[in-house]
Symmetry: D3
Subunit: 185 residues, 6 copies
């Protein structure tokens, strides 16, 4: 599994959640987590979460860190959602380690009771994908600056969290290769 942090800023418009974006954009032919910084403005045709569509809720932010995960080892919805939760907990634990009080409810992170993140996970017939975005700054939602982070610290999270996610997945892959099957009562 490959972690890649983009130097260039790009905006998240929802197209990056499509399967094979990592290959199309960077020629990456492994499972991957790509991190980049940019605004968030999801076009309605790219909205995966029907709740957002039903509520006609815009998903907008001027400045976010984005993580795009793609796995080709399975197209199991239960698995991609478990992995999405793991990514959220990894992000949360990095903030906790820096002394920032963060609360997780499902796939959402909160600081001071304000929503810090947006996330979606789903599958196509060929891969699993996750988008996880965190506000660097925002006028009324939770964001890393208000939580006390400098811009440099915030930007650095792209590298730290991507690597931790890759470590988690590879650690799991190693663990499951040393465990016997279960007996049955």
């Amino acid at each position: 599994m490959e972690a890649y942090v983009m130097d260039k800023r790009i905006d998240y418009d929802g197209s990056q959640i499509s399967s094979l974006w990592a290959y199309s954009a960077f020629g990456i032919q492994s499972d991957s987590i790509i991190a980049f910084r940019g605004a968030c403005d999801v076009f309605p045709e790219h909205m995966i979460d029907l709740e957002d569509r039903r509520q006609n809720e815009s998903i907008e932010s001027p400045d976010m860190l984005h993580f795009i995960v793609e796995h080709f080892d399975s197209t199991d919805l239960k698995l991609v959602y478990a992995r999405q939760r793991l990514l959220a907990t990894i992000f949360a634990s990095v903030l906790t380690d820096k002394g920032i009080a963060v609360e997780r409810k499902g796939d959402d992170l909160f600081v001071d009771g304000k929503k810090l993140s947006v996330s979606i996970a789903s599958t196509s017939a060929i891969s699993q994908k996750i988008h996880f975005g965190v506000n660097v700054s925002h006028d009324f939602y939770g964001n890393l600056k208000d939580a006390g982070m400098t811009e440099k610290q915030a930007v650095n999270l792209m590298d730290v969290v991507s690597k931790k996610y890759v470590f988690e997945i590879e650690d799991i892959e190693a663990d499951l290769r040393k465990s016997r099957q279960l007996g049955v009562f």
Copy 2:
């Protein structure tokens, strides 16, 4: 999914990791998380982790909280390991909320650099299972008492963590029922 906390103390000897233990012991016919308190002394024939076997490492503790999870919705090894990590992060976050500094590496929790927990996950042909055990007290390993918890607080974790795990799984199940499939580049 059902959460059940045993009133009675029993020891974890490794037999509880077998598939259908929840049904055999309690007649439970749903996915479940069962919590109980007791010593930990795993018989070699019940050791699932071959690393422990190879190192002839005994898994012993006089007083632990035990969580036994069983899922019948899939026998995918990747999924049960992702769920095991989620359970570990849930336990860790509850300690963090109580002001206890806890570190997670894979499926292990540490306090003050000392190993607080043991865990294993695996599958049979019919179900996934997880064992997660945490020392209440211990002479040289990390434990909840040394971390500052009263016995009552420690014991209460069985209820809190079991319910949070059930919430997590049910929250995932609800989320995956409102997300469209992905497009492809």
Copy 3:
């Protein structure tokens, strides 16, 4: 799993077979069976069964009972077809109990040698779906009125059959949680 019978009449136009219709229409976030009454007029772009398309066969009825089933626990084609057959047998057995002679061939029901029902099953990347429709009245196809049912009795089938299907699925889920894995010769 949730059973829901609509009070309002709506027509089945084939759009209801799409994944996530239950969520879009009713906000339902569980596996579900939705029953409603209305005409049946499937637009060609919603035809799932290519045999109908090849034969340019219209699927029309002025008055039907419709059952729309959605499962998110698997996207296995074999499983959704087995469940479709189960739904057909459940419907048939309810008629049999009321003294109506009904014959099942695959997913089709017949009374007096006339086709009583239409059905389709398939999957998307995220869910399994079944449509099962039964004529309440019809000029030349089999229908519940000609079979001797009053309108009230016919309408009542929506509730009875939906509940029996939910019972069947939940009974299966309970049964598979008390059976040991098999030995091998």
Copy 4:
């Protein structure tokens, strides 16, 4: 898929539920349904259903029709249980066609409120298996003779039901090869 009716009587002792019995006994290398007549006396070590074990309930009958199904196309528990229910409904519908009132609850058939059948389904790592047994005669349980069948009629059910089950599975396999995938809302 192959249907095979044994000429010879043999007793069902629970060993026939093991994977690869059809190959071991008859050299059959396809999915199969094998029917035979004989007593039923399940040795405790072959009991798959833990409920029977817990209740220390003997599974005994002097004279039964037995159907042993094996599928190698999947090891999904949900699928083998759906197929078990289909087999039960097929058997029931054959009785209904002969004018015998039969009731199905899950995998059990009843005549005159008396239990007519026993059944179990499960998987190993390599195949799915179903056992379905029906009393030809019995002192207090439901049985085909008391339901009005001659011995010849009862014995003939082995052939009829086996063929109908094979037809059902092959009909499903054909149907799923002409249905488009679903759209998504």
Copy 5:
């Protein structure tokens, strides 16, 4: 599994890689391998391999043998790619038997260092498909005529290779129905 060799020539334009083409064109309701002869000119909207798209590489040939495989028993990407490689090795071994030196790299065959074949494999939500095309003649790519085959010999490969592929799949299906599950250390 059915092998079918078309008498009529048709061109491969990429539409034949869609799921259910065999049913739409020939009413085939089994897993199948269809062989035909014709030019190759893939419309961009039918390009499955994004590498071809990225490189804006046309896939053109005036005269090819085409094999279109469809399996409905699984939608596992790993399996369809393993099957694609098997098809390539089967084709290669037939040439080898005729004294033609052929080299395989992944899914590509080479003669005299020149690319002889094109291939793609993928899945939809309902089936696996493979396209494997081999130049009968070509101005600069490898082709069967330059390799020393008469037109009749080349055309005959459609029948030979299709049958060998079907044999391979059926041989596998038989083998997996006589092997016990594995022990575990």
Copy 6:
């Protein structure tokens, strides 16, 4: 995926086909192909192929090259058998390149009409495994020496074939990460 060629000779007694042998023997925690040289003498309790058991056929050779493959990415029987065939074709093509005429039927290789190899594939609840053994020398079966290979050339095949198998699997994994999902007719 890791390829490992043992320096030491060991005999294949059938125990090496068990899941987790690579971890137990070498601590390998990745998918792997292990090659070694030694006699072949399979104890009956380790016989996976019931055909051998039924025919009471001993599987013996004084001197073989052995390849033991283990994959943890799936427990699909169809996939491990397709991979087994790929391994056989890879071995065959290496011999072909060295000018040795070799014929493959299913998982068996033949030289001069004599059986050169033995092979088995199966799964446990946690992994897929393949054993592929080739006679270096033998009194009446086909073997590499009679086919004209020096001992050094024969021994070298362990390295060559293992690496080619790893390349094949990794090439597949890369290919499936650049292919769009299919359309449907």
